[in-house]
């Protein structure tokens, strides 16, 4: 039982990271209907920017909460620039062309970003000294002590805060309304005087900043990154988005949590080697029974 709770805590932490990345996928899919393959690499760049800023602030020597806040803002700002540029360079010229064109463009962009970081930062893994230590211990009397580290608490709380801000942004503000309108009907939205291009750019900026936060969490949680982390994390986050129902924002978060839980439970109880197989197999099984994911809108085709 205690072991189960420990895995649950770990799973929720991992799920928060996947969920934040998944939102970027699902938003972009919702608004322009493409799989943004470069999003995983945007996450990786976010992780690198965070790592670099952690080192700089570590050298200057500032208090921990200030470091965290500054790194968060810096990572979001710089990574958003990447998201914005990628959209302008690789996707915007392809708007309105056939379905596979942006996908291939995104694959190309993903290859470019990965190798660009490899050239610029070197291919070796980058370790970072842990900033957080300690945690809360539960069930001290039993055999297995459940530890919830302060870092895990930080990650989950930060995710909840960001989700709150994000939900407010999407449901209550003009920007969110424009964004949802673009999802439903881009031509009509443009006719009503909304700048569609700008809305799409902002979607990419929001998605990238959330991914950069996930990148920062990844650096803190695993303490080691390399240029290749974007691929697997990106694919799992996309799996999460599909699992929850692509295009649905609560679905992305739910899917992220599910994938995180499946992965930790599987490595805790079955085998650690096949944890990635578990995530993908669950996806295949779920899609057979819920062809549009758990929270996706049923897709009715009309002639």
């Amino acid at each position: 039982m205690e072991y189960f709770i420990q895995q649950l805590v770990n799973g929720i932490t991992l799920g928060s990271i996947y969920g934040l990345i998944a939102i970027g996928y699902t938003m972009v899919y919702g608004i322009i209907g493409m799989i943004n393959f470069a999003h995983g690499d945007i996450f990786m760049i976010g992780a690198f920017v965070a790592l670099i800023s952690f080192i700089i602030f570590g050298l200057i020597g500032v208090a921990l909460p200030i470091i965290l806040l500054l790194v968060l803002l810096i990572a979001m700002l710089f990574t958003a620039c990447y998201g914005w540029t990628v959209e302008k360079l690789a996707y915007k010229p392809l708007r309105g062309s056939f379905r596979l064109a942006p996908l291939i463009s995104a694959l190309g962009m993903s290859i470019v970003l990965q190798n660009y970081v490899q050239v610029a930062q070197g291919a070796r893994v980058k370790p970072m000294q842990p900033l957080f230590s300690g945690g809360l211990e539960f069930f001290k009397n039993s055999e297995f002590i459940v530890t919830v580290s302060y870092l895990q608490i930080f990650i989950v709380i930060l995710t909840i805060i960001l989700m709150g801000i994000f939900t407010y942004l999407i449901t209550k503000t003009d920007l969110g309304r424009a964004q949802r309108a673009c999802e439903q009907d881009r031509t009509m939205t443009a006719l009503l005087g909304i700048n569609v291009d700008r809305t799409i750019s902002i979607t990419f900026i929001i998605g990238s900043s959330l991914a950069s936060v996930a990148g920062m969490m990844f650096v803190l949680y695993y303490g080691v990154i390399d240029f290749y982390i974007g691929f697997l994390a990106g694919i799992k986050a996309f799996t999460a988005a599909v699992l929850g129902g692509i295009g649905s924002l609560p679905g992305a978060m739910l899917g992220g949590l599910l994938i995180g839980l499946i992965e930790t439970m599987w490595s805790g109880y079955v085998s650690i080697e096949y944890k990635d197989v578990a995530a993908f197999s669950v996806l295949i099984v779920v899609l057979i029974f819920f062809p549009t994911g758990f929270l996706g809108k049923p897709d009715i085709e009309k002639v």
Binding site: F48, L89, A90, L113, Y274, S281, L283
Partner: protein, 422 residues
């Protein structure tokens, strides 16, 4: 040009420079280096300023150019003319191409390196043609095609090393196994719509790779399988010193021993395999099942209402595509004599899909051009090891941006109701 325009484009260029500074500043400018215990930062501001300068200059030139409206007209008109020519004279083009491919090994400038590159290009052409059945004809986006390539390679390697059967028995078996895996995957997932199918096939590709890495007892894990038998020329092996009472290729024909013999043989082998794939595709397009694939690609609902069973039709496309992937896989295994899961990563799937889409979906000639172009680019940049993949990805983006329908856009159905509309 107006003075205002110049000022405007100058401001725009400065803005580009600012963005470029934000992009390159942290990632290029602050290189992290591990020293002993921790990570340290080495600044590289020189490169950053160079890159930012290039961006500003490039943007400024493009701005001035686009004001004159001469933007890349030359490029697009050239390629559309080219597409026109090849469509008209497709047959001549194909025959010339095949003739060139046949005499290629005996051309004076052809050396070992050219042959290796040519074999690699032909392998990708064959994979591209195989995937073209799935993506180009049936319109199913398969991002895990490398799984079938892997299944073919591993079944060939395992059968050949365990039972010692010859290449010509193992090859069809590998194809059958790959097709079986295609059906196995296709059966549950082919009801899904386009993008869902894409992610599931991608996941399947990863599952196969992870199983190959971890199933030590059978696949030997990350170490791979070594000592895969080489193919023989109708029973004559390509050995320098054949066993007692056995003739090898060079002794039988009374030739001087040369390692090139085997390479030339491998070259013709993959050429024949690729041409079989092509011939098969061209023929099946005219059969009812091929017609059904194209019809499904264009309109699934219309097909359903006309009594075409979408799942079964897609399943045949999937299985046949997988089978050719399996053939290509067994060729790969016998050529390398060594396979490991590292050869079957997602990037391979991405390259194959890119070849099909960049060539122009459904166009057989386009696949050839795209393979030559993409593999050629990575070969040209071979000396700049680190930059070749950047060039490769960049080429993918650029082709898509300037020619979204591929080099040879040919999505014309094989037949039309009222004949060929010209």
């Amino acid at each position: 040009m107006e003075k205002q325009d110049i000022i405007k484009s100058f401001k725009d260029s400065l803005f580009t420079g600012l963005i470029a500074l934000a992009l390159f500043g942290p990632i290029v400018g602050l290189r992290t280096v591990s020293k002993g215990e921790g990570l340290f930062i080495t600044p590289q501001w020189g490169i950053v300023f160079l890159l930012v300068g290039l961006c500003i200059l490039g943007r400024f030139l493009i701005n001035i150019n686009s004001a004159k409206k001469t933007e890349f007209k030359f490029l697009s008109s050239f390629s559309s003319k080219f597409a026109h020519i090849t469509e008209d004279k497709a047959k001549h083009f194909a025959i010339t191409g095949i003739l060139f491919a046949v005499v290629f090994p005996f051309l004076p400038f052809t050396d070992r390196y050219f042959m290796d590159v040519a074999i690699m290009i032909l392998t990708y052409i064959m994979l591209g043609w195989g995937l073209n059945i799935v993506v180009g004809l049936a319109g199913l986006l398969d991002l895990g095609y490398v799984a079938f390539y892997a299944v073919g390679a591993y079944s060939y390697a395992l059968i050949a090393t365990t039972f010692g059967w010859s290449f010509w028995i193992c090859l069809p078996l590998a194809g059958v196994f790959a097709a079986f895996f295609g059906i196995l995957l296709g059966f549950p997932v082919l009801r899904l719509r386009g993008d869902y199918l894409a992610i599931v096939t991608l996941g399947f590709g990863e599952i196969i790779r992870i199983i190959l890495i971890n199933w030590y007892e059978v696949t030997n894990g990350p170490d791979g399988i070594t000592g895969i038998p080489r193919p023989s020329f109708f029973g004559l092996p390509f050995k320098r010193s054949p066993d007692e009472g056995e003739a090898s290729f060079h002794t039988f024909f009374g030739l001087e021993y040369s390692t090139m013999h085997r390479i030339i043989f491998l070259y013709y082998l993959i050429l024949v395999l690729a041409l079989i794939t092509n011939y098969f595709t061209l023929k099946i397009r005219k059969l009812p099942v091929g017609r059904a694939w194209e019809a499904l690609r264009e309109d699934e609902i219309a097909c359903k209402s006309l009594g075409v069973n979408p799942t079964n039709t897609k399943l045949t496309a999937f299985a046949i595509g997988a089978m050719f992937g399996g053939f290509a896989g067994s060729f790969f295994a016998t050529r390398q004599a060594f396979i490991s899961p590292e050869s079957f990563t997602f990037i391979e799937s991405a390259i194959i899909v890119a070849i099909v889409v960049l060539g122009g979906m459904g166009s057989q000639t386009g696949v050839v051009l795209a393979s030559i172009f993409l593999i050629g680019i990575t070969e040209i940049f071979r000396d700049l090891e680190q930059f070749r993949m950047i060039a490769f990805g960049g080429a993918m983006v650029l082709i898509m941006v300037f020619k979204p329908k591929g080099i040879l856009a040919n999505r014309k159905p094989t037949i039309l109701m009222h004949g060929d509309k010209k």
